[in-house]
Amino acid sequence: MITFIELLVNGISIGAVYALIALGFVVIFKATEVVNFAHASLLLVGGFIIAKTHEALGFWAALLLGLAGAAVLGALIEFLVIRRANVVNHSVLAIVTIGVDIVLTTELTRQIGTEVLALGDPWGSEVLHLGAINIPLARIAALLAASAVIAAFLLAFKYTNWGVAMRATAEDAETAALMGVRRGRVSMGAWAVAGALAALAALFMCIFPTPGLDRTVTATAMKAFPAAILGGLDSTTGALAGGLIIGVTESLVGGYQGELVFLGRGLGDVAPFLVMIIVLLIRPAGLFGTRELARV
């Protein structure tokens, strides 16, 4: 039972981090209808900036710089690539983002090399003891920070002019333009927000119990992709639910791997994708996604 609770809390904490990444996917998809495969590289950039600057600036300033850096990079990708690409089909833009991802990831992995970079977070490897239950402080920080940021994001999405403009554009870009909404600004804002969310996720993916930022972190980040898909690519609620489902699944399957050994090792890494496939078989638009309606 104690193991179960520990695994569950860990799973929720990881899930909240996946939800941050998935929200970024969803925001970009809603604003521009582009599936952003460059998301993992935004995350890597954010983490890299934090890792490289925390010694000189201190952790909190480095964190801010990382968030800002990833946000600026996101906005630049939108401004220099997505906006210029004069294509009608959005799947072409999705492939363009794969190109952007390859360029950024290749350069960063070259910079990182074989090193494992510490991010200089204040939580270290401390563990919180609640009776018999032991939970790393870093996981609790991840859970709290991610929840707070997600809540702030959802409130902004619902109540600010930015959120209204964003949702109006997502629903009908032409009509939103008739209201005076500047589409370029909306989509640039979406990319910037997604970048900042990714950078925050990078922090929590690279601190304890993970040894630090290394070149494989983009692969881990890709696990948020099934989270966004299974929640429904155009639903913020879906991103949250999807993130938590994937996080908890991964944690539980990984933790009980011993009992599931007949299925082979490394099941924890595969489980998120299995869950995604099963959900999509039953609900093709994801748990909260909008079904494509075709009227004849």
Partner: protein
């Protein structure tokens, strides 16, 4: 119908000169010139595919959403040049469109739709005033404030679409077939509303297939056919012309001549499909 002063010089309302629009290789409008003087209601009549919506897209700068563009001519409003301007710039010059088919944001609430309408205008106090005005004009929108717009009836959605456009405090309203698909009672209400909005000082360009309704509202009318203006003149004169009666009022030819003797705005239900 409406007698209005022409306004100070330089504030000439909307002027369109020799406008041509094409979607790729397809020419949709040719040599269109029209004027909508300040404070007036002007209507553009025409059947499906005549180019009515294209004209409004050209004015609002939304042709690019349909892969079209202005190939010749100019559009001006007061002293500003609208042709070539971004849609948001057109809105900030005070020219706001209510698109065909209402296009309310179905997944957002009525309140949020109204809020979206004010996005182009930055002034908060002005937005609150505009909101007051809209809710006075359409009290039903206040009752339904928290409902999703997609759940409203067709007529209520049209009211919301007009109300949303008024949130930007337009000097000029472009209406694209506001009575399309509405029951006659509701269409008459929308017509009254348009009259009311105009009497409060907003210039109106009304694009319609429902010629009887449009001609009763407008002071001046243009008839658009396959991308060109084929007729124009004071609305009252056009309403009397045989050409318009036959084509757009569903009177004459094979139709029942008895309709002619009916009351003036007899609502020949078939007019909208007849062109």
């Amino acid at each position: 119908m409406n007698v209005h002063d022409p306004g100070p010089p330089g504030d000439s309302g909307l002027t369109v000169r020799d406008l041509a629009v094409s979607y790729g290789p397809v020419t949709a409008l040719r040599g269109i010139s029209l004027d909508v003087p300040r404070g007036s209601v002007v209507t553009v009549l025409g059947g499906n595919g005549a180019g009515k919506s294209t004209l409004l897209r050209a004015i609002s700068g939304t042709l690019r959403f349909h892969r079209g563009g202005i190939t010749a001519g100019e559009i001006g409003f007061d002293r500003a040049r609208l042709s070539g301007a971004a849609t948001s710039a057109v809105v900030s010059h005070g020219v706001v469109q209510v698109p065909e088919g209402r296009k309310v944001f179905a997944r957002m609430t009525v309140e949020e739709n109204l809020r979206a309408g004010a996005l182009g205008a930055r002034d908060r106090r002005a937005a609150a005033e505009a909101r007051e005005r809209v809710l006075t004009l359409f009290p039903v929108l206040a009752e339904r404030a928290r409902q999703r717009a997609g759940l409203l009836s067709g007529g209520e959605q049209q009211m919301l679409a007009i109300g949303r456009a008024l949130m930007a405090r337009p000097k000029m309203l472009l209406l694209d077939e506001p009575t399309l698909g509405l029951a006659p009672m509701m269409a008459a209400r929308i017509a009254d509303t348009v009259r009311e909005i105009n009497s409060q000082g907003t210039t109106v360009l009304l694009v319609e297939q429902n010629a009887a309704m449009a001609l009763s509202l407008a002071s001046h009318a243009y008839v658009l056919e396959v991308g060109e203006i084929v007729l124009s003149g004071p609305a009252a004169e056009l309403a009397e012309s045989d050409e318009v009666r036959r084509r757009y009022l569903g009177i004459g030819d094979d139709r029942d001549e008895a309709l002619l003797s009916g009351a003036a705005p007899a609502r020949p239900a078939l007019t909208r499909w007849s062109a």
